[in-house]
């Protein structure tokens, strides 16, 4: 029995079992090893290319400052992302409900994704100041679209038999949306979420670059100016860890919110 609404790609074929992470770790270890060797043996200045050990050491010594700035960035990302989910869902619901609104809104939404961040970020800072708000808005602006599109694709794949059945039971359109279309779209939503989350942290950092008092973007900027390349790398490492962490969190959320999905897929693959 096939389950409706399988999302291809992202949540797709991952090697099963407890050894799945070994190849990834191995390749990272090899890369870091080579880097360490080159940085210590070639005589390159640590201001140009610090060794991984030096990056870790400098990061650990400056952990207080790193931590404070990480928290600021994480807050912007999470709030912005939360806003993106709300806006993304509401837009998708409105578009799904009305063909007129779909025609009216879709070009605008696609247009919103063509705005160059370098131009829009300073403007939003000018309009909304140096606080949390402009970063949240920028993260939301650049992350809502994959979520909206994912929901819309998901609604489309609702089983017509299910919709007919609900209609025969006397269900209203709202009831059909709530009981059939939204649940069908949930796996798609998580796929969109994973696409959006990979660049939301970068957007937050870039927004800080354009003007902020705290955050990893500010930190990277400051340390670049004083040639602390090791601390820049440390901040980059933290950025990566946050992104990977948030990415992993979507799987956790998926398991909690739609437990049937993973289970049914595993059964189907057997």
């Amino acid at each position: 029995m096939s389950v409706h609404g399988h999302v291809p790609g992202l949540s797709g074929r991952r090697p099963a079992g407890r050894w799945a992470w070994v190849p990834a770790l191995a390749i990272i270890a090899v890369g870091i090893g080579a880097w360490q060797l080159y940085a210590t043996r070639s005589g390159v200045s640590p201001q140009i290319l610090p060794s991984p050990a030096r990056v870790l050491q400098a990061g650990w010594i400056n952990r207080g400052a790193l931590w404070t700035n990480t928290l600021a960035t994480l807050k912007e990302t999470v709030f912005g992302f939360g806003l993106a989910i709300v806006v993304g869902f509401v837009l998708s619901a409105v578009i799904d409900a009305s063909g007129v609104l779909r025609n009216a809104l879709m070009p605008l939404l696609i247009g919103s994704q063509t705005l160059p961040l370098v131009a829009i970020a300073p403007l939003v800072i000018i309009w909304f100041g140096f606080g949390l708000m402009p970063k949240v808005l920028l993260v939301a602006l650049l992350s809502f679209f994959p979520i909206t599109v994912a929901f819309l694709e998901g609604y489309q794949s609702t089983d017509p038999d299910v919709e007919r059945l609900l209609a025969s039971m006397g269900a209203s359109r709202w009831r059909v949306f709530r009981s059939a279309r939204v649940p069908t779209a949930m796996p798609f939503f998580f796929a969109g979420l994973r696409i959006a989350i990979t660049y939301s942290v970068v957007v937050a950092i870039f927004a800080e670059y354009a003007g902020a008092t705290a955050g990893l973007g500010v930190y990277i900027q400051e340390e670049t100016h004083v040639f602390r390349t090791d601390l820049v790398f440390a901040a980059v490492l933290v950025t990566t860890l946050i992104t990977v962490g948030l990415f992993a969190a979507t799987y956790l959320l998926e398991r909690i919110m739609i437990p049937w999905y993973r289970m049914s897929r595993q059964t189907a693959r057997r």
């Binding site: 029995m1 389950v3 089983d159 038999d161 299910v162 006397g170 009981s179 059939a180 049937w260 049914s264």
Partner: protein, 269 residues
């Protein structure tokens, strides 16, 4: 006042059909789908509409559920014109249409939920029936964990608990393998014997029609009209062993004749 035996007209009143279709026609744009279909379904009767694939059987259900309107003809439920159709019929679609994200218990209460019955009351109403439908061990399971037969039983339970006057079953076992289908037919016969719902069943399986029905209407290919009405003389409860009884074989033959006669007519015109 003296008691007297009921006269014929009174008896007819009392036995007024649950559902009556009179000369129902339906055309989809230029395409004639139904060419004046008349049939009736008595209370507690299991009546089958038998016809070749694509003859318009499902259009009859679409009209009954209000999904589409007949071009002409009348539909009477309990002797009154068809009003809010959803309150009269409970439908079991060809595919089981179980929601993969709902556990069995929440799937079977879906219709009640749509009616506005509270979740707790819906579960209370459904729970005593789970065992009859062989689902008591699987109330907390998800649909993908069920076998094909169990999925159909869950879909039927979801249909039955809606407590509408008439059940419309649209090729309920069409998607099952032959062995499971036979099991399910036997099972349906036994539960129907217990509950005696008024059932209108669509199928293109002659044997299924004979085994389950009180009466069978045979439809011609599109545009569909009734080419024969056959009463099945087999006593209930029925068993698969009766498949080879003379009455069974004769009825089966009669239906096959009617089907091919209908087809021959259609090719002549």
């Amino acid at each position: 006042m003296t008691t007297r035996p009921p006269i014929a007209s009174e008896r007819a009143d009392r036995e007024a059909p649950k559902l009556r279709l009179e000369g129902v026609r339906h055309a989809y744009r230029e395409l004639e789908v139904l060419d004046g279909v008349s049939l009736r379904l008595g209370a507690g009767e299991l009546v089958t509409i038998l016809g070749p694939s694509g003859c318009g059987k499902s259009t009859i259900f679409a009209i009954l559920t209000g999904a589409t309107a007949p071009t002409s003809g009348s539909v009477l439920v309990d002797n009154a014109p068809l009003g809010r159709a959803t309150e009269r019929f409970a439908v079991m679609p060809q595919s089981d249409a179980l929601l993969p994200w709902r556990r069995v218990i929440d799937n079977v209460t879906l219709g009640l939920e749509v009616q506005g019955v509270s979740r707790r009351e819906a579960r209370e109403r459904v729970t005593p029936l789970l065992a009859t439908f062989g689902l008591d061990q699987f109330a907390r399971a998800y649909p993908f964990q069920l076998s094909g037969g169990m999925r159909q039983r869950a879909a039927l339970l979801r249909t039955v608990v809606q407590d509408r006057g008439v059940l419309l079953l649209d090729e309920p076992f069409g998607a099952l393998d032959a062995l499971t289908r036979t099991d399910m037919q036997e099972w349906l016969e036994s539960v129907w014997d217990t509950f005696r719902w008024s059932v209108l069943l669509i199928t293109h399986d002659i044997r299924e029609a004979v085994f389950l029905s009180d009466r069978v209407y045979v439809l011609s290919p599109r545009p569909a009209r009734v080419v024969a009405e056959v009463t099945v003389p087999l006593p209930r409860p029925r068993r698969m062993a009766q498949l080879s009884s003379p009455d069974f074989v004769r009825t089966e033959h009669e239906l096959r004749q009617a089907l091919s006669a209908g087809r021959a007519d259609a090719t002549q015109t």
